[in-house]
C-alpha cells in the first residue's frame, strides 16, 4: 500500500502527477533545486524538499527515506530511464514506479533492444555494424546508448561513412558515456507512430492504441495526436499486437511506449521503447478515459491492470501542443524571462497540463517546456479547429513562445490533410515566420496607448502598416 510518493521531477509533469496522487488520497512529496525554489511545482505538493540536482539518484532516495515516502515516481526525462534511480530505490526498499531495472537497461541499449525485439518477432529496420551494401544507402549512423538526435548522422554514400561514424562516436561518448554506434537503414519520409502499452506484475499486457508524433523540430516532438491519420483499423490491430509482443518479451511492468517508424509504404519498424510515462500521454487519456498515472500507481502496488484489451476503445480525436519558451524564427533558440501575463484558454474539450503561472520565471537551467495544451473533439477536423481557437486565445507574455508557430502548423494545409512526416517543418520553412509586413493599425494603437513618454532607439521589422478599408476620416 503506497501512502506517500516522492515525485522526482519538476514542472508540468510533477504537477500533473500530484493531481492524480491527491485524487487517490496519496501524499505528494516534491523536490526542488535552488533555481526552482519559487517554481510552481514546488508549491503544488503536499511537501517539498530541497536537493542539489534532479539527476542525483542517491540524494533522491535519501530524501524519500527521510520524508517517509515509500515510492518514487520519476516522471519523464531526468532519471526516468536511468537504472541508477530504479536500482537505488530497489536497494533502499522503496517502490520505483516504472519497470524493472533490467528492462530499463536492456531497452536503453539500442542494439540489445533490437536483438530482443527481433527474437520476439517484432519487425526492425535492417542494420549493420559496419559497411552496409552500397545499394542500402542512405543510411543512418546511430548511438547505441542514444536518443534525442545526439550521436546521429545521415550518410548519403559509402565514402562518407568512416568520418560520420567517428564523429558520431565522439558525440555519443561525450553525451552518453558510451561511444558505441551502429548503422541503420534510413527511411526517407518517416512517420513516427508509437503505441502505448501497459503491463502488470500478473503477466497481463494491453495496448492503448497509437499516438502520431511526426511533427518534430530538432528531433523533438511538438505536436502529437491520436488516432493517427495514417493508421487503419487493420494496421492498428497489427501494430497493437506487435507492441504487446514487444512488451511481453521484456515482461514489461507499468506504462511504457513502443516507438515505430512507419514508412511511406505503410510498413512499420521498431525504433525504441520508452520505459516511462510519455510527455504526450494526455492524448491517450483523452481518447480512452484511462488515467495513466493512476494505472502506474495501482500496478506498482501489485494490482492487475484495471481494464482488459476488449474494454478499450478510442473515442474521438485528441491533439497536444507543447508550449515552449523559445523563438521558432531564430532557430528555436530557448528564451528566458518572467511571465507577466498568463491567460490560458478555457472551454469544452480543453485541457492544460501546466508548470507555470503569472509571475513564474523561466530560467536557462531546465527544459523550456512550460505547458501542454491538449484538446479533444469528436473528429480530427473539429479537434484542429478547437486547437486553433485555443492557441488563438492563449496569452502568455514576458517570455517568447512557440504558440503562434504551433497555430501556423495546425492551420497549414499539410497538417489538415494528415499527410505528415518528421520533415514537415523543415519542408515548410515559411511556417517559421509570421506573415511579414502586416502590422494592423489596432496594434499600433494598442502600443501607443500603453507607451510611456520616454523614447528608446532600435529598429522594427515591419515593412508597412496595414490598414483596413473601413477607416473614416472624421
Amino acid at each position: 500500500m503506497i501512502r506517500k510518493i516522492l515525485i522526482a521531477n519538476r514542472g508540468e509533469i510533477a504537477i500533473r502527477i500530484s493531481h492524480t496522487l491527491r485524487e487517490m488520497g496519496i501524499a505528494a512529496a516534491g523536490l526542488f533545486t535552488d533555481p526552482d525554489s519559487e517554481a510552481l511545482h514546488r508549491r503544488s505538493m503536499d511537501e517539498a524538499h530541497r536537493i542539489e540536482s534532479y539527476l542525483d539518484a542517491n540524494e533522491i532516495v535519501r530524501v524519500a527515506l527521510e520524508c517517509g515516502a515509500n515510492a518514487v515516481h520519476p516522471g519523464y526525462g531526468f532519471l526516468s530511464e536511468s537504472t541508477s534511480l530504479s536500482s537505488a530505490c530497489e536497494k533502499a526498499g522503496i517502490t520505483f514506479i516504472g519497470p524493472q531495472t533490467e528492462t530499463i537497461r536492456s531497452m536503453g541499449d539500442k542494439l540489445e533492444a533490437r536483438r530482443l525485439m527481433q527474437a520476439a518477432g517484432v519487425p526492425v529496420l535492417p542494420a549493420w555494424e559496419s559497411n552496409p551494401p552500397a545499394s542500402e544507402y542512405p543510411v543512418l549512423v546511430k548511438a547505441v546508448g542514444g536518443g534525442g538526435g545526439k550521436g546521429m548522422r545521415l550518410v548519403q554514400k559509402p565514402s562518407e561513412l568512416a568520418d560520420a561514424m567517428a564523429a558520431a562516436a565522439r558525440e555519443a561518448g561525450n553525451a552518453f558515456n558510451d561511444a558505441r554506434v551502429f548503422i541503420e537503414k534510413y527511411v526517407t519520409k518517416p512517420r513516427h507512430i508509437e503505441l502505448q502499452v501497459v503491463g502488470d506484475t500478473h503477466g497481463n499486457v494491453v495496448h492503448a492504441f497509437e499516438r502520431e508524433c511526426s511533427i518534430q523540430r530538432r528531433h523533438q516532438k511538438i505536436i502529437e495526436e491520436t488516432p493517427s491519420p495514417a493508421v487503419s483499423p487493420e494496421l492498428r490491430a497489427t501494430m497493437g499486437a506487435t507492441a504487446v509482443a514487444a512488451a511481453k518479451a521484456v515482461a514489461y511492468r507499468g506504462a511504457g511506449t513502443v516507438e515505430f517508424i512507419l514508412d511511406a509504404e505503410g510498413r512499420h519498424y521498431f525504433l525504441e521503447m520508452n520505459t516511462r510515462l510519455q510527455v504526450e500521454h494526455p492524448v491517450t487519456e483523452m481518447t480512452t478515459g484511462i488515467d495513466l498515472v493512476r494505472e502506474q500507481v495501482r500496478i506498482a502496488e501489485g494490482h492487475p491492470i484495471s481494464f482488459k484489451q476488449a474494454d478499450l476503445r478510442q473515442t474521438g480525436h485528441s491533439i497536444e501542443c507543447r508550449i515552449y519558451a523559445e523563438v521558432p524564427e531564430e532557430n528555436f533558440r530557448p528564451d528566458t524571462g518572467t511571465i507577466a501575463v498568463f491567460r490560458p484558454p478555457t472551454g469544452p474539450g480543453v485541457r492544460l497540463d501546466c508548470g507555470v503561472e503569472e509571475g513564474s520565471s523561466v530560467t536557462i537551467d531546465y527544459d523550456p517546456l512550460m505547458a501542454k495544451l491538449i484538446v479533444w473533439a469528436p473528429t480530427r477536423d473539429a479537434a484542429i479547429e478547437r486547437m486553433k481557437r485555443s492557441l488563438h486565445d492563449f496569452v502568455l507574455l514576458g517570455v517568447r513562445t512557440n504558440i503562434e508557430f504551433l497555430g501556423r502548423i495546425i492551420s497549414s494545409r499539410d497538417f489538415a490533410s494528415g499527410n505528415l512526416d518528421t520533415h514537415l517543418i523543415d519542408r515548410n520553412a515559411a511556417l517559421l515566420h509570421s506573415p511579414a509586413g502586416t502590422l494592423p493599425i489596432e496594434a499600433l494603437l494598442a502600443a501607443s496607448l500603453s507607451a510611456s513618454p520616454a523614447t528608446n532607439g532600435a529598429s522594427s521589422s515591419f515593412s508597412n502598416v496595414w490598414t483596413s478599408g473601413a477607416w473614416r476620416n472624421t
Binding site: E404, G457, A458, N473
Partner: protein
C-alpha cells in the same frame, strides 16, 4: 481630452502618431487617418478597445524600449523611434564583427584565443541553454580581436562574447 505625440520606428522610418484621449476613448491620428476608438475596459497590461464597432483585446509589455503587443491572438514587436540621435545599433555596425549570445545560457567551451586567425564558419565557442548546445561560428574569415567571456560563465541574450576583425 489630452493629446500626445509618439514616434515609432517602422521599416526604418520614423512614424509619428498622435493620441487624443479621455477616460472613455479618443481619436488616434496616424498619417491622414483619424481613427476614433472607445475603451471597453482596461486592465494592468492592456485592455479592450472598440474600433469601428469591433472589440479588440490587447496586452502590451514594455521591456527596455521594446514593446510586445498581443492583439487578437497575434504578437507584434514594436520599437520607439529615436528622433534625431543615430541609434546605438547603427553606431556599432561598422568595422569589425561582434559575436553576441544568440540565447541566454552558459558558455561551455571557447575554441579560439585572442590573435588566432579563423576561417569563415569555424567554431569559436559552444554554449548551452536548457540542455541544448549551440556552436557560435565565425561569420567571416579574420582574426580574433577580443574575447569577452570565459567557460562556465552565464551570459544574457545579446551579450558581447567575441570580436573578429578583418
Amino acid at each position: 481630452m489630452t493629446g500626445r505625440e509618439l514616434h515609432w520606428e517602422i521599416d526604418g522610418q520614423d512614424v509619428a502618431v498622435r493620441i487624443e484621449e479621455s477616460t472613455a476613448g479618443g481619436i488616434f491620428r496616424f498619417g491622414e487617418q483619424n481613427i476614433p476608438f472607445t475603451y471597453i475596459s482596461r486592465h494592468r497590461h492592456g485592455g479592450w478597445v472598440s474600433v469601428d464597432g469591433k472589440p479588440h483585446e490587447f496586452y502590451v509589455l514594455q521591456d527596455r524600449g521594446s514593446h510586445t503587443v498581443w492583439l487578437d491572438g497575434r504578437t507584434y514587436r514594436l520599437e520607439r523611434a529615436n528622433k534625431g540621435r543615430p541609434s546605438e545599433a547603427a553606431e556599432l555596425a561598422r568595422g569589425d564583427c561582434r559575436i553576441t549570445a544568440l540565447m541566454p545560457g552558459r558558455i561551455l567551451r571557447i575554441e579560439v584565443a585572442v590573435g588566432d586567425t579563423v576561417a569563415e564558419k569555424q567554431i569559436l565557442a559552444t554554449m548551452e541553454s536548457m540542455k541544448m548546445e549551440t556552436s557560435l561560428l565565425a561569420p567571416m574569415a579574420g582574426r580574433v580581436a577580443a574575447i569577452h567571456c570565459r567557460p562556465g560563465q552565464i551570459v544574457e541574450m545579446g551579450e558581447l562574447l567575441i570580436v573578429i576583425e578583418e
